[in-house]
């Protein structure tokens, strides 16, 4: 009996370094190739020796690699994998992913090599060479990797260019849905895959509406600012690491002094999964009420570049932005000011959007060190933080955190607000209902939360649900249907029975009829004929 085997090399009961190996119908596919933000040793990359130990090279073993989106925990190990481990086959991703991914990889390399001084890391040239192996796919385009292997991307909406992938080999199929922000645009056919692999980052969360979250977000900022304004003109600042930027950077973040649409941007860009119908009046209303007069900064460079990509890939954003972009391009912000490191000590309140979102390195960590000890300041964490990062420690309530061998006392107020556009439990359930898989496999989440979701899925859909740890294999038996040519005359004759008055007598099952024929197998051709033929 045919089977599908899946092994997570990363992201098995964990968040970070997503990498799943799938074998089906004699084909081997690798889904994502990410890095782990919580580690700085060899554990930051998936363990590819799992493949090479069998004595075959990566290129021999793998038919293709598929990257779901540009976050580093999904593509961060790619240059290492292709240039240092020597994978030479095709790598598939969408156009925006191909555009943005090298920028993030370069940024990651800079931080690791230039700032931390690590050796034996991939180089800029390796990133370029790696990107040459990338083949881009369009949404819904059925790409034949070889005559038997077909992949198809669906819009996922997590970040710009994020996609779900369906992989088909003959009659076996799997669906990989990472980075799905469930909405009207992020849909998938009722394709009934044998296996659906989904993330479970927010497995136990059912989030309130995006609009509520945004309102809340703005309220918190303005309250903080007003308080300062009245009490004193003291230095107040709010670093807001942005998840989407974090690992990635698309976040053309944003926003508004007095007159640009802060809300709009927050909703559409930070979350980068802009589907909800927009109400312009709401935007205006909030903006006026907020009356933000203080400067708002965005970390320059990366953000600016990422912003540019959003302009070029407008077709990947939501309908509303698409419709209005000719008149007013949502991604041209008049009121954003690029942030310079020297502004850290500027007097007066300010809002700073800085990356990375998990505060494990870079500008956001630098600002945090400066501002952490003043209780007037506020930190808004916009998304999930991987265990081991400073962000994770802050969210867990640590009051004293060691950063670069110095203890920092956390006095500023910490707010957690999820803008990250991952699917929550409800979204995952909806997705499963839509695709109607025979088996589900959970990855990209924490074990305890995963288990809860697993129970729920098994209960509700009556399907097997797996949550393998890294290196643990899931094996699924599939029963592929066998396709046979049937002669039209036999088919017609049998079908007539269904509608004949004697149908009940001839066959006990309603709407069916017994068919009797002769199966002839000539080489590879199978045909079913009437006995006379």
């Amino acid at each position: 009996m045919a089977e599908i085997r899946a092994v997570p090399l990363g992201a098995g009961q964990d968040v970070g370094r997503s990498c799943i190996l799938v074998s089906m119908g004699g084909k081997n596919i690798m889904l994502d190739c990410g890095m782990h933000m919580g580690f700085n040793d060899e554990r930051r990359f998936p363990d590819f020796s799992y493949i090479t130990d069998s004595g075959r090279s990566l290129t021999e073993h793998l038919d293709c690699v598929i990257i779901s989106h540009f976050h580093l925990d999904h593509c961060g190990a790619l240059p290492y994998f292709s240039e240092m481990c020597g994978y030479d086959g095709p790598i598939f991703m969408t156009h925006p992913t191909k555009a943005i991914c090298p920028i993030l990889l370069e940024d990651y390399r800079k931080i690791t090599v230039d700032r931390k001084g690590e050796q034996n890391f991939f180089t800029s040239q390796m990133i370029k060479d790696c990107m040459k192996k990338v083949v881009t796919v369009n949404l819904h385009q059925a790409v034949k990797v070889d005559p038997d292997l077909e992949i198809k991307a669906y819009y996922a909406g997590h970040v710009l260019g994020a996609a779900m992938f369906q992989v088909k080999v003959h009659h076996q199929s799997i669906v990989y849905t990472i980075g799905v922000c469930y909405s009207r645009s992020a849909w998938i056919d009722k394709c009934r895959p044998d296996l659906l692999i989904t993330e479970s980052t927010y497995a136990t969360t059912i989030r309130d509406s995006k609009r509520c979250r945004e309102r809340d977000f703005l309220k918190k900022i303005s309250e903080c600012m007003e308080r300062d304004g009245k009490v004193s003109k003291q230095h107040t600042s709010h670093p807001c690491p942005v998840d989407s930027l974090t690992a990635s950077g698309p976040d053309p973040s944003v926003c508004s002094g007095k007159s640009s649409g802060a809300v709009y941007l927050t909703r559409d860009i930070l979350a980068s999964s802009p589907h909800s119908p927009h109400s312009h009046s709401y935007t205006l209303h909030t903006r006026e009420r907020m009356n933000l007069l203080h400067p708002i900064y965005f970390s320059a460079g990366l953000t600016e570049k990422a912003n540019h990509y959003y302009k070029l890939f407008i077709s990947w954003t939501n309908q509303n932005i698409k419709n209005t972009f000719v008149q007013r391009n949502m991604f041209e912000f008049k009121h954003i000011k690029p942030f310079d490191r020297s502004y850290i000590d500027n007097p007066g309140p300010m809002v700073v959007f800085a990356t990375p979102g998990m505060l494990h390195a870079g500008l956001s960590l630098q600002i945090f060190k400066k501002w952490a000890e003043d209780e007037k300041n506020m930190l808004i964490m916009p998304g999930y933080c991987v265990a081991g990062t400073v962000g994770h420690k802050i969210l867990s309530g640590h009051k004293k955190i060691e950063i670069d061998k110095k203890m920092v006392t956390v006095r500023l107020s910490v707010q957690y607000m999820s803008f990250s556009a991952h699917a929550d439990a409800k979204g995952i359930m909806q997705l499963i209902r839509q695709a109607d898989p025979a088996n589900v496999m959970l990855v990209h989440g924490e074990a305890a939360k995963m288990d809860f979701l697993r129970q729920k899925i098994m209960q509700e859909f009556g399907v097997h649900c797996y949550m393998p740890a890294n290196g643990e294999m899931v094996s699924i038996a599939t029963k592929p249907m066998i396709s046979v040519d049937v002669s039209r005359s036999l088919l017609k004759r049998t079908q007539e029975q269904i509608h004949s008055p004697l149908a009940k007598k001839l066959c006990p099952v309603r709407g069916s009829a017994t068919m009797s024929g002769l199966l002839v197998m000539r080489n590879e051709v199978r045909s079913l004929n009437t006995p006379e033929n």
């Binding site: 819904h140 385009q141 790409v143 540019h308 890939f313 066998i482 396709s483 040519d485 001839l506 002769l518």
Partner: protein, 507 residues
């Protein structure tokens, strides 16, 4: 569509403009195209903006190579045709047959994705249409000529009008123009693009990188705008306006180059420029769209002093390329317009008509063509449980046979054969015999094993009659069946039956 609708309804037709339709007036019209179209009473008014939106809202957008499944019966796939942004050819296929539809396609390297050819091969039917309207003009030569004439006119202080559609070839024209003006030292000449959709056309072209040729596609990774016209606009040399009434007046300076519609010169802002510039021989109008006969287009503006050039730029397939493609695709048969096919009027040269080497059908308006397709089989899915119980026997090397009994269910044009429910056995199930009954072997076995030698063989090549033991039994053998007849002796009958069974394969 929006542009055309805009042009027409900007100055709505008056009631009396329909008076020519009166039979008395119509019959007095001079001979010409109008008089030949006898069904003008059925002519409809042009669609409105509302109509356009309604129609567009019904469209389901798809990607190239995305396969659409219609009723689980027919699969439809769009393939890039290389003509303009999003233009496509279609594959319509069932499990057994394939129809390819080639419409406006181009093998020239212009801005869109190149034409995809591999999947158009070996179709049962190939429908070919949308060949170039200017088969004798090479687009590259025409473009070079256009640039030269334009430069000449501009250097003499004249203006250049290029009546055009607001998308498509225009993008390539703008790109070439920019490069040419720079090299010809004319970079201070302003270029105006006037159309109600000018802004959206230029903006949209720059956000669909996925639909562009590789060179343009890779630009967005830098990130840069794929088309240079963004740069052109930024530098203030290319300006676009929705019409001539607004801001154009404040920046307008001559000499200049104007791109505007409609290329027929019957509506749109091209009319205005024709009237304004027609009087001076310094100015020039350059036609690039071969859809309209340029002399007809100019007729109402005579006498005209302005120079008129016709440099048709139509990158679609010409007959020469189309013939090459036909050989490459090698369809079983070709369906195409009668006018593309060889006829007495055409000399038999390969660059004036199609020269199909396969069977072909000509199309004329309003006439259907019926083409037979082989439809002996359909696909059925065998349930794996049923399949695992089948034990095929090999009757010839490479050919195995077995009888199958299962439960057929058909839903949404998908047929599956499942195992029969337990306890259900239909009455009429017997073993089937397979093979060819060799008469020699049969006679020999009778003789060797049963000592029966009295066998008389009669009949034709097709059906033989074996008369055994002087009429005790008759065996009729034909390719379809073997019958034992007139046999009163049960023992003999059993012998004959067993022999038949032994010489054939039971499945």
């Amino acid at each position: 569509m929006e542009e055309l609708s805009h042009y027409i309804y900007r100055a709505p037709p008056t009631d009396h403009s329909a008076q020519w339709k009166n039979d008395s007036l119509w019959s007095s019209l001079p001979d010409g195209t109008l008089k030949e179209s006898s069904d003008f009473h059925n002519w409809k008014e042009l669609y409105t903006m509302e109509g356009i939106q309604k129609a567009i809202s019904r469209i389901q957008p798809i990607s190239y190579s995305e396969t659409i499944d219609l009723f689980h019966h027919v699969k439809v796939t769009a393939l890039s045709s290389g003509f303009c942004l999003g233009s496509c050819n279609w594959i319509i296929e069932t499990e057994y047959n394939k129809v390819a539809y080639i419409s406006s396609s181009s093998t020239f390297t212009t801005h869109p994705c190149p034409m995809e050819r591999a999947r158009l091969k070996s179709a049962d039917i190939l429908i070919m249409s949308g060949l170039t309207n200017a088969p004798s003009a090479n687009p590259d030569t025409m473009l070079a000529e256009l640039c030269t004439r334009m430069a000449q006119t501009l250097k003499n202080g004249g203006n250049v009008l290029i009546p055009c559609y607001p998308t498509g070839v225009l993008y390539d024209l703008l790109e070439c123009l920019k490069a040419y003006l720079d090299s010809a030292n004319l970079s201070n000449v302003p270029v105006y693009f006037i159309s109600p959709v000018a802004k959206s056309s230029l903006s949209f072209s720059n956000i669909f990188a996925e639909w562009l040729c590789d060179a343009k596609k890779t630009k967005v990774y830098l990130p840069e705008q794929p088309f240079p016209h963004a740069e052109f606009i930024k530098s203030g040399r290319l300006r676009h306006f929705p019409n001539i009434h607004g801001d154009l007046g404040s920046v307008y300076q001559t000499p200049c180059v104007v791109f505007t519609g409609h290329p027929s010169l019957r509506c749109g802002d091209s009319v205005h420029f024709m009237e304004a510039w027609g009087g001076s021989s310094k100015n020039a109008v350059i036609f690039t769209e071969p859809d309209f006969e340029y002399l007809h287009a100019l007729a109402p503006y005579q006498p005209l002093h302005m120079k008129a050039y016709y440099f048709p730029i139509d990158p679609r397939l010409n007959f020469f390329v189309a013939n090459k493609l036909l050989n490459e695709f090698a369809p079983r048969c070709l369906v195409t317009a009668d006018s593309y096919l060889p006829s007495a009027a055409h000399s038999q040269k390969e660059n004036v008509c199609l020269q199909p080497e396969m069977q072909y059908y000509g199309l004329t308006r309003g006439r259907a063509v019926t083409i037979p397709l082989d439809g002996k089989f359909q696909k059925i899915m065998l349930d794996p449980e049923l399949a695992s119980k089948l034990l095929p026997q090999e009757i010839f090397p490479g050919v195995s046979v077995t009888s199958v009994l299962g439960l057929l269910s058909s839903r949404n044009n998908q047929h599956t054969l499942a195992p029969l429910p337990p306890h259900h056995r239909p009455h009429t199930v017997g073993k089937l015999l397979w093979g060819e009954l060799s008469i020699e072997a049969f006679v020999q076995a009778l003789r060797d094993q049963h000592g029966i030698v009295d066998v008389v063989i009669e009949g034709t090549e097709e059906a033989k009659t074996l008369n055994i033991l002087g009429g005790k039994a008759t065996v009729l053998i034909s390719p379809e069946k073997t019958t034992i007849r007139d046999c009163a002796d049960d023992k003999l009958r059993a012998i004959l039956r067993d022999l038949v069974f032994r010489l054939l394969v039971q499945v």
